[in-house]
Amino acid sequence: MINNTTNPVLIFLSAFVVNNIVLIRTIGLCSFFSMSNSLKSSLNAAVPIVCVNLAATILSWLFYNLALIPYKLEYLKLVSFVLIIVLLVQIQEFILKKVLANYFSTAGNSLSVITANCIILAVLLLNTEYKLDLVNSIIYSLGIAFGYVLAIILFAGMKERVGSAPIPKALKGYPIEFILAGLMSIAILGLRGLFGL
């Protein structure tokens, strides 16, 4: 559990490894499994998520604290957060299509995956649950986004190795990927209790 009095470094570490969003909280698995076929495609999924995450955190924090809380409308947070995420994802899609046409052709479908990515919504909801202030929530969301990047890059590397390994026929593809993710999760579990986070 973290709150505003926790040291910012610990907030970052808690989100980054100790409570890793993919491996411990098991959020955002769809893109984790579908976009990690190679290092390049995993980066293609990771970079937009980091950007959208940051922007969405700032915008939604402002909206939540300046518009919803003063009028006691906390129950509208889900609808408004979702609208903000859709807005940001669409804007980013257009920017990528226009400015980085080359990038977009390689990123392909990943953008529609981001729209449905649970991570961004989860970050916004966790921020409101812990009642973090603006700076801390930015730190927390960055920690979660980088935790996702770490997990997906490690996973892509492992998948490439496993692709050339002799494994039973029935386990090829998704089954062995799930087992790999389980082993990674056990490894990260070893950090539990670090600084009492």
């Binding site: 491996l23 411990i24 909280r25 098991t26 959020i27 955002g28 698995l29 769809c30 499994f33 579908s34 129950y75 889900l78 609808v79 979702v82 609208l83 859709v86 807005l87 669409q90 529609s112 995956v113 729209t115 449905a116 990515n117 649970c118 961004i120 919504l121 989860a122 909801l125 966790l126 649950e129 039973p168 026929k169 029935a170 386990l171 090829k172 593809g173 998704y174 089954p175 062995i176 990927e177 799930f178 087992i179 790999l180 993710a181 389980g182 082993l183 999760s185 056990i186 579990l189």
Partner: protein, 203 residues
């Protein structure tokens, strides 16, 4: 003919195009919450409610929504039903809400829902078709999470629906890592069955 294709689509969602085991969508809650069978029944009911209601609503208002705002519109509809389910569970199933926690609002961001809302927009034969589609999806989803939930409860805490079965269980199965491992092994067994049956069919 039309009836038949509807029914086929409905049945295929349960087995051939099962959302969790085959299409690999909507995985997040599957892993996080299925530690007991009771939780998975709760989650399955919540997801089914949101899926079916939003499918019907989207297919009804499809004609009035222009193309540019169809994603935000469907998201608003899904979010509305998710909020409804969230408060309902908080009011009447307080134990369940303590366990499900953040994952009830996260139903909203489930890839399953977004994918199927795309389908509800594109499908031509309107309401009945999208209702059957959503119903098939939710039944397939619920069956799989019920299976995983009861397996994890039996292995991980040595109990089924709260009834203690044996002592000293394999605690790792309750942790997220156990969920990953169990789903991996389950998918492997399914693959093995599938390859066996298809071989038999060939002969």
């Amino acid at each position: 003919m039309l009836q038949n294709s509807n029914l086929n689509a409905f049945l295929s969602r349960i087995w051939r195009a099962n959302p969790v085991v085959v299409l690999m969508v909507g995985l997040c809650p599957v892993l996080a919450i299925t530690t007991t069978a009771y939780n998975s029944i709760g989650l399955g009911a919540a997801v089914s409610f949101v899926l079916i209601c939003s499918g019907l609503t989207i297919s009804l208002i499809r004609k009035f929504v222009p193309n540019e705002i169809k994603i935000p519109a469907s998201m608003v509809i899904i979010a509305f039903y998710t909020t409804f389910v969230d408060y309902f569970i908080q009011a009447y199933f307080i134990e369940l809400s303590a366990y499900l926690g953040i994952f009830i609002p996260l139903i909203m961001a489930n890839c399953l829902l977004l994918n199927s809302s795309e389908i509800f927009y594109s499908v031509k034969n309107s309401t009945t078709h999208s209702f059957l589609d959503a119903a098939g999806f939710s039944i397939g989803f619920s069956i799989v999470i019920l299976l995983i939930g009861s397996l994890r409860e039996i292995l991980g805490s040595g109990a089924f629906m709260g009834q203690q079965l044996f002592q000293e269980p394999v605690n790792v199965m309750v942790l997220p890592a156990g969920g990953f491992l169990l789903i991996g092994i389950l998918l492997g067994i399914l693959n093995w069955f599938r390859s066996r049956f298809s071989e038999k069919n060939d002969k």
